[in-house]
């Protein structure tokens, strides 16, 4: 008797679960289609914000970037994709030598898009672009210089004395 009850119980439970499955696939059928009709929509196609297409160095409209040529990205890069070439330049005000970015070389052919350079950059000087059309005819074009020619680092305002006071107070 008990097995008979179990039989009918499992039968109706099974039917109920099958109906649930049908309902799920029907909602999928009625959902918006996700296919991108790519070559037709390339004018309007936008990748999502976190898409890692290629590394860029954002410049502001005065042709200035934030890179201080510290080389942390280069050290963190697992593939040696990034090369930071810097030179020493004397600060006109204090006369002390200071590292200045000369060339920021990025080889997209070896980049594995691991995001370590961006996440370790202390100045947020580099970022990912969403421009995913990267095919080129010549391998040399995979080597890119990310900083614009004649660009400069953004001069930070001189640290005010107030934070210094706070620091000493803390100590």
């Amino acid at each position: 008797m008990k097995s008979l009850i179990n039989y009918f119980k499992s039968l109706f439970e099974g039917i109920w679960n099958l109906l649930l499955g049908l309902k799920i696939s029907m909602t999928n059928l009625l959902r918006k289609k996700v296919t991108e009709k790519y070559p037709e929509n390339r004018k309007t196609k936008k990748q999502f914000e976190r898409f890692r297409a290629q590394l860029t160095m954002p410049h502001n409209d005065k042709n200035e970037h934030k890179c201080i040529a510290c080389g942390i990205c280069e050290m963190n890069c697992p593939n040696g994709t990034i090369q930071v070439i810097s030179r020493m330049e004397a600060d006109p005000e204090t006369g002390r030598n200071k590292k200045v970015l000369d060339k920021y070389i990025y080889d997209i052919g070896t980049c594995i898009y691991c995001n370590q350079c961006v996440s370790t950059c202390p100045q947020d000087a580099i970022a990912w672009s969403q421009d995913f059309e990267q095919a080129v005819f010549d391998r040399d074009r995979l080597y890119m210089q990310l900083n614009n020619p004649n660009s400069k680092v953004i001069e930070k305002p001189k640290p005010a004395p107030a934070p210094k006071a706070a620091e000493t107070a803390n100590n």
């Binding site: 499955g21 049908l22 296919t35």
Partner: protein, 356 residues
Amino acid sequence: MFDFKIVTSWIDNLLRVDLGLDNFWTLAIEFILVGVALLAAYALIALVLIYAERKICAFFQCRIGPDRVGKWGLIQVIADMIKILTKEIIPIKRSEKLLFFLAPFFVIIGSFLTFGALPFAKGLHAIDFNIGVLYILAVSSLGVIGIVLAGWSSNNKYSLIGAMRAGAQLISYEISAGLALMTMVVLAGSMQLSTIVESQADGWFIFKGGIFALVAFVIYLIAGHAETNRGPFDLPESESELTAGYHTEYSGIMFGFYYVAEYTNLFIISAIATTMFLGGWMPLHIPGLDGFNQVMDYIPSAVWFFGKCAFCIFLALWVRWSYPRLRIDQLLKLEWKILMPISLINIAAVAVAVTI
């Protein structure tokens, strides 16, 4: 409603009276005409179904499906057909040559013979047996001979396993499919398909038969999907375990035969379900509403038939893209422990209800 008998009797008259042919030649020409028409319908239905399957499958997966060749990808199927026709037929070295090349024809013939007995529209019915249901059941299960032959003659373990599964599956599920159809035969009191359709003029069996017809309909659909080796019952060609099952070794048009037969079998199952449960080509009639019935009569009978078929085919696709594949023991358990007892009880209940 337009009666296709006008067309057929006009052709018959043309041959007999106007051309003055004797009985033998008239019949010979008519047989050839019917055969050609059915073959054309066979190929056309398979093409339409392949396109529909690809599109609807894509929609179930939130894709668009073929849309590059022609408007909405309409010519895609024809391009695929031409591709498959021009491919090389590769003979397998250590295969059973005769059976290997014979097997696809068994599959094709099995499903093609069924076409002759299906009432497509009013008067459009090649041959009207008085045992039509029995004939359809017998002939539509012939295809499994082709499948088993294919698996055996390919001399390939995967093919053989697929073929054995197909055999076990078909023998099991033929029982509940037959019992479900017998339920409707009990309701109609006849095995002749034209009589069955006529007796649904005042309401389709699925409405007239109440809960019995509904249960029989669901059981028939499940058993039918299992017989066509589709949906969650595609063990014979389960591509993740057996590469392609019984037709692994076939190429070119030989593979195309299996491909086409799979889709026409789907159509045949839907057509039988339509004829037995949903009233065939009979329009939707509600007793008492004469105005409504008249309006329904203006829709051609072929549209009714193919519309209902499309509904059944959509149900098949919906099931196919919803459920994972069954294991062989689950498959047999479903048939022998669940479907067959239920359909036996169902047919007994219908018999009692009809006699009372």
